[in-house]
Symmetry: D2
Subunit: 391 residues, 4 copies
C-alpha cells in the first residue's frame, strides 16, 4: 500500500470510529432506512470537512481520483460502519453511478447530474432490475421500453430492488430502445429526475437489510418523458455501459462488506479475549480458536482475490472472470465470518448487545444481490469449460 | 406413526394453516413480541375448541398425554407457524415447565400452578441462566442465592435470557441453597408469581428472534420471599430436576424448529417449481436441485436423530448423549435448511414477500440457545473418549 | 435391539477381532485383491464353525434369516474389518445376490446357484453396469442384448465395474430382451457360470479400493449361450427384480461401511487419548474434540437414517426415497469420519502405522458407487418437487 | 507476470508434458518411490539440456535465481506432474535445502554440498522431525543431541518422516547443542553424508503418498561424528535458520501442489465436457458446474493467497502469518479440488483410468505435513488475539 493510501485509510478509520459508529446503532431498524438524508447530510458535511468525501470521484470534481487498488483499503475502513460508505459518499449505488457517469456522461450531464452527486447534494439510483421474468440475472430479459416522441423518449416499465430509490434525486433507467425481450443488445440508459411525471414508488420491498439509505424499492414508470439531452451516452449502448459499471461495482461491494465483516470479527475476538472460560479465556479454547482462525483465513482470501481483481481492473481489463470469482467467494466467506463471530459471542452474538448480529443480517443478502452465487458459478463453470474442455 | 397420532398431526396442521398462519406475518416485529397475550388467548381458545390445546399435558389436567415419540409429528406440525406452538400451548418454556411440574409439583402446586398453565390461563418462565460468569453452559456456576427466613426463603440474584418472562404468571427460579459457586449440587427450584415484591424486569435482551411471547428478559431478584409451600420438590434437588426437564425440552425445541424449517423448505420448493428459468423452471436447474436435495437430507436426518432420542426418553433413559447429538445436529441442519431456502428464493428469500427470511432469522439463535454447539461438542467428545479412549 | 441380535452382534465383533483383523493388514495391496479365495475359504470355515456364516440367508438354506433392521448391527460389526463381510459371506455383491435369488430363483436354480452361494462354495457377480454411454446411473441405457436361440438365449455385450467378477462361480447378467436403448423395461436377468464360452475378463479396472475379492472388472460377453432354465425369473422382468435388489443392497453397503468408519474413528480416539499434547492429551484439545464430536454426530445420523430405511424395507416398502437419502448421507458422512480420523492421527493417519488411511481409501468410492451423490440428489430433489411443488 | 517468467512457465509446462508426464503413470506404486534415481538422473539431464534445471538456485551456481513471486508459476507448471519437481530439481526437500544452504553455507560447504545439489549430482534430506514426543509441531521438543568431541561433534537421536532420506547424498541434521528439551533455542544444524558411520535407515514410514523420491523415512543416528567444518552456520543458531527455510518451503509446497490439483481439475473438466449426459454433456449439468466453479474459485483463492505471501517474502519479511494462512487454506482447498475432480469423473475418478485419483491420494497428507491445519489455526488465532483482543 503506498504511503498516502495508508494514511488515507487510517484517517478514514479514525473518522468512522469517531463520527459514524455512534450513529450506527441508534438508527437500526428505523422506518426510514439508514437514518435518512438528514443524517446523511450531517455525516457527509463532516467527511467533506475531513477531506474524505467521494475519494473515488475524479479530481476535477473534487474527488481524490483513487483507482480500484487504492480504493480497497479505504472503502474497507469506511465499511466498518454500516453508515460509513454513506458518510463518505461511496455507497452503492451512488459510487457505481459516479464511476459510470465519469466514463459516459456528456459535459452538460456531468454538471447537472454528476457534480452534485459527487458533492453529496443529491443521491441517485440505478434502475435496471425488473420483477420476474424481466431483467435480472439475465439482463437480456429487459422489458421496460422507451419509444421515440418529440424531442425525446417515453419510458414505460416496472422495476424492482432499486436500491436507494426512495429520496433519490435522479434515476439511471435502463430501457429497451430496440430488439426483443431476450436480446442481449438494444438497451439505452436514461437520466430521469425522480420527480418527473410518471415515476411512481410502489413500495419498499422490505428486505432484511436495513442500512441502505432509500431502501430497495419497486418502481412503476408510466409514460415517463426523457428529453434527448438526458440520454446517457449512445442509444442502444446501454448493455455495454452496464458492463463498464458492473465489475468495479461488484468489487466496491466486496470492499465495503469486508469492512463490516472484519468489524464483526474484531468485536468477537475482543469478546472472546475478555470472556473467562474453563480457567482461562474463551479465546484460549480450541474450538473458539478455530472460529477465529477460520475468520482470519476467510478475510485474507477475500482480500487477496479482491486485490487480484482490482489490479486487473486498474490495468484496463473488464476482469469479468476475476470479479465474478472474487464476488462469489467474498459473499460466502464474509457471511461465514459474521456467522462465526455470532457463534463466538454466544447470546451477545444474537442480540443488540454487540453489533455482530446486525452485521450478519446486513451481509446475508450479498450472496443474492449483484448476482446470486449460483448464477456466478454457472458463468465461472462455463468459462472453465471453454478454456479447458476442448484442449 | 400410530393412526391417532397421524390424525392428530393432520388436524394440527390444518388448524395451523387456517387459524395461525394468517396471524403470523402481520405481527412480525411488534414491540410486544409474538403478538402478545391477547393474540395468544384468542388462538388458544380456538385450539381448545378444536381439542388441540396442551396435547403433551397429563390427561387428568385436560391434556392428551402424548409421549415424546408421539409429540414429534404434532409439535412439528404446530411449528410450521412461528405462533403455532403458542396457540397449542406447547411453546418453550411453558411446555417444558408443564413437563417438569407434572413430574415434581405437589398436589397443591399442581392445582395452583400447573392446572391453569395447562389451561392457558397464565404463562410461565424458567429462570436459571445468569449473566456471565454465572450459570450458563456450566449450571454449577449458579450464583443466585436463597437463604432461610421465617416460613420460607429469600432469593437474591440476577437472571438473563429468561424466555417469556415479560407477562408470565409465575417463574420457576433456580437458586443456590447450599454449597459454593462451582458446585454441581446445592440448587433448589422455587415457584414465584411474577408480581411478587422484588421481582424486577430489567430489560428485554433484544435478540434477533422475535416470535417468543414475553421475549428473552433480564431479571433482577431482590429479597424475593418464597413461602415453603412454593418450594418445588425437595430442597437441594434443583439440578436433578433440571436434568428431568432438560432432555425433553431440547427435543421439543427440535420438533418445533423442524416444523419451521420444513415450512421454509416447502415455500422454497414451491417458489422454485413455479419460477421460469432457462426454458424450464428453477426447480429443474441442477444447483437448485442440490439445494432442494440437501434440505430433504438434512430434514430427514434431523427427524431420524430426534426420533432415536425420543424413543430413548420414552423408554425412561435420561438420553443425555442422544439428545445432545440430536440437538447439535438439528440446530445446524435446520439453519442450513432455512439458509438454502433463502438462496433458492433469491430476492424474495431476503424480503418479506415470503416467510423464509423470517424463519431463518428465528432459527439462527438455536445454535446458541440450549447450549451452544461448541459446548455440546465438548461433552460429546468427552463421552466418546470415555467410551473408546482406553479400550 | 432384541437380545439375540445384540448377542449375535457381540459374537460377530469378537470373531472379527480375533480371526479377521489379523489378516486385514497383511494382505493390503495384494495384486489379488482382498487376499484371494484361499483366505476367503479359510475365514469362512471359521465363521461357519462359529455359526456366523450368511446370517441374512434364508434359514432353510442354513442362514439365520435376519431382516434388514437386525442385519444392521451385525453387518456393522463385520464391517469393522475390510475382510469381515467376506468372512461372513455378507459382502457385496454376494449378499445382494443371495437376497435377490431368495426372492426370484426357481427351486432348481435355488439348489444349483443359491445353496452353494449361501454355503460359501462359490462366489457371484452382478453384471449390470456398462461402459458409457450404456447402463449406469440410468439403467434404461442398457445395451447388452440377448436374442432367442434354440433352447435358450445368446447374450452379447460389454460390462464394467463388475465387482467380484474375477474368480466368481457365476454371474447374474442383465441383458435387453426387448425394446430399445433408453427404454425403462425390456430387460431380463440370466444366470451365467463364469467359465461359459464367450465370457471374457477384459481387465481389472484398477480402482483405489482394494478390499473387494475379485476386484472390479470389465467383461466382454460374446455370443454367450444361456439355456432357458438359467433365465432368472420372468423374461422382461429384469428391471423390476433389480429394484428388489437395489434398496436392501444400498443399505447393507451402508452397514458395512459404517463399521469401517467406526473403526477408523475408534482408532483415532484411542490415538488422541494416548497422545501427549500441551500438558494434557491430544483428546483434550478443543479442535481435536471438535473432530471427535463431529464423527460421533455423523455416525449417529448415519445409523439413524439407515434404521429408518431398514424399518421401511422390513415393512414391505420399496423405500426408494429413504434408501436414497440414507445412502447419500452415509457415503458423505462416513467419508468425513475417516478423513477426520486421519487428521486426528497426524502422520500416523496417512501411513500404514494405523488402519485409518486404508479405511479412508476404501471408503472414498462409495460416494460414486451405487449411484453418485449427484444422481441421488437429482432424484431426491425431483421427489420433493413432485410432493411439494404444486401444493 | 513479467515476460520472461511467462515464457519460462510455458517452456516448463511444455517440457513436463513432453518428457515427464509419460513417466508419471508407469512408475506409480513402485517399491522404490518416484521411479528412483535412475529416472531422476534421466529427467534432470533433459531439464539441464532445456535450461530448466534448478531455476530457483543462485545464478553463480548455474540456477536462474528466481525469487518467490517468479517461482510460483514455474513451480506450478512443474507440479502438474508428480515427477515434475524432481525433474527440475525443485522438489522438497532439496529445493528448501538449496534455499537454506545458499543463505547459510560457508564457501567450502557451498562447493562440497550446495553446488552438486544444484547440479543434481546428489540429493539431500532435512532431518528435523522426531517421533513423538520429540520435535514435531513444537520444534522445541528436539531431543536429538550433539556433544563436543575432538575436532567436532557426536550426534545421537531418532528422526522420522525424513523425506528423501533413502538414497540422499547428505542430511541436514538438527540436533540440540545446548539447553533442555522444551527450550526454543540451543539447536545446531549439521551436514552429514548419508554413508557416515552411525546413520541407519530404520524403515520407510509407508505413507499413502508415493511420489517423493527417497520416501519418508525413519532414521537412527548413533554416535555420528560431524567434523567442525560440517557445522552449518553458527552453533546454537539452528532454530533461527529453520525459520529462514520454513516460510519459502511452505510456499513452494503450495506452488507444486497447486499444479497437481490444477491438472486434476483440467482432466475432470475435459472428461465432463466430453461425457454425454441427459441429452447434453456432463459439463452442462448444474451440479457438475458447481463442482467445476468451486474448483476454479479454490484455485484462484489459493494462488491469490500464495502470491500475497510470496510478495511479502520477496520484500524481506519472514511472513509467518501470510505463509501460515496460505499454507492452511491451500492444503484444504487443493484437497477439495482433487476430491471434486474425482467426483466429476465418476468411476474413472477412483481408478487408474485418469490421474485424478492418484493426485488426490498424493495431496491428502499436505493437510498434515508442514504443520497440520489445526496447529496452523492455533497460531493464526493467537496472532489474531494478540492483534485485536486487547484494543
Amino acid at each position: 500500500m503506498p504511503h498516502d493510501v495508508h494514511e488515507l485509510t487510517e484517517r478514514t478509520r479514525a473518522f468512522v470510529d469517531e463520527h459514524v459508529l455512534p450513529a450506527d446503532d441508534e438508527h437500526d431498524g428505523d422506518v426510514e432506512a439508514a437514518g435518512g438524508d438528514d443524517l446523511r447530510r450531517r455525516l457527509q458535511a463532516l467527511a467533506r470537512e475531513a477531506g474524505l468525501l467521494s475519494p473515488h470521484a475524479p479530481t476535477d470534481l473534487g474527488g481524490l481520483g483513487l483507482g480500484m487498488v487504492d480504493r480497497a483499503p479505504v472503502f474497507e475502513a469506511a465499511g466498518r460502519s454500516l453508515f460509513g460508505p454513506m458518510a463518505l459518499n461511496i455507497n452503492a449505488p451512488d459510487e457505481g453511478n459516479i464511476h459510470l457517469l465519469a466514463h459516459v456522461a456528456s459535459s452538460d450531464q456531468r454538471e447537472r447530474y454528476l457534480r452534485p452527486l459527487v458533492a453529496g447534494e443529491h443521491r441517485s439510483a440505478f434502475a435496471m432490475t425488473e420483477p420476474a421474468p424481466g431483467a435480472g440475472s439475465d439482463p437480456g430479459r429487459l422489458t421496460t421500453r422507451a419509444v421515440r416522441t418529440d424531442g425525446g423518449w417515453l419510458v414505460d416499465g416496472h422495476k424492482t430492488f432499486i436500491t436507494g430509490a426512495d429520496g433519490a434525486g435522479f434515476l439511471i433507467v435502463m430501457a429497451r430502445t430496440s430488439g426483443e425481450v431476450g436480446d442481449n443488445d438494444g438497451a439505452t440508459m436514461f437520466l430521469v429526475p425522480s420527480d418527473r411525471d410518471g415515476v411512481h414508488l410502489v413500495r419498499h420491498v422490505g428486505t432484511v437489510d436495513r442500512s441502505m439509505i432509500g431502501g430497495h424499492c419497486e418502481l412503476a414508470l408510466t409514460r415517463v418523458f426523457v428529453p434527448d439531452e438526458d440520454v446517457l451516452g449512445g442509444v442502444d449502448e446501454g448493455f455495454r455501459y452496464a458492463q463498464v459499471r458492473l465489475g468495479p461495482a461488484r468489487m466496491t461491494h466486496v470492499m465495503r462488506w469486508t469492512g463490516a465483516a472484519a468489524r464483526a470479527h474484531e468485536e468477537a475476538v475482543r469478546y472472546a479475549a475478555a470472556r473467562p472460560a474453563f480457567g482461562s479465556t474463551l479465546a484460549e479454547q480450541g474450538m473458539a480458536q478455530q472460529l477465529i482462525a477460520d475468520n482470519e483465513i476467510d478475510l485474507a482470501a477475500t482480500r487477496a482475490l479482491l486485490m487480484d481483481a482490482c489490479r486487473a481492473l486498474d490495468a484496463g481489463s473488464r476482469a469479468s472472470a476475476e470479479t465474478s470469482i472474487a464476488k462469489t467467494f467474498a459473499a460466502e466467506a464474509l457471511d461465514r465470518v459474521a456467522d462465526r463471530a455470532q457463534q463466538l459471542c454466544g447470546g451477545s452474538g444474537v442480540s443488540r448487545d454487540l453489533p455482530v448480529a446486525k452485521i450478519a443480517r446486513e451481509l446475508r443478502p450479498f450472496r443474492i444481490y449483484d448476482g446470486p452465487s449460483e448464477v456466478h458459478r454457472w458463468s465461472i463453470a462455463r468459462r472453465a469449460v471453454r478454456r479447458l474442455g476442448t484442449s
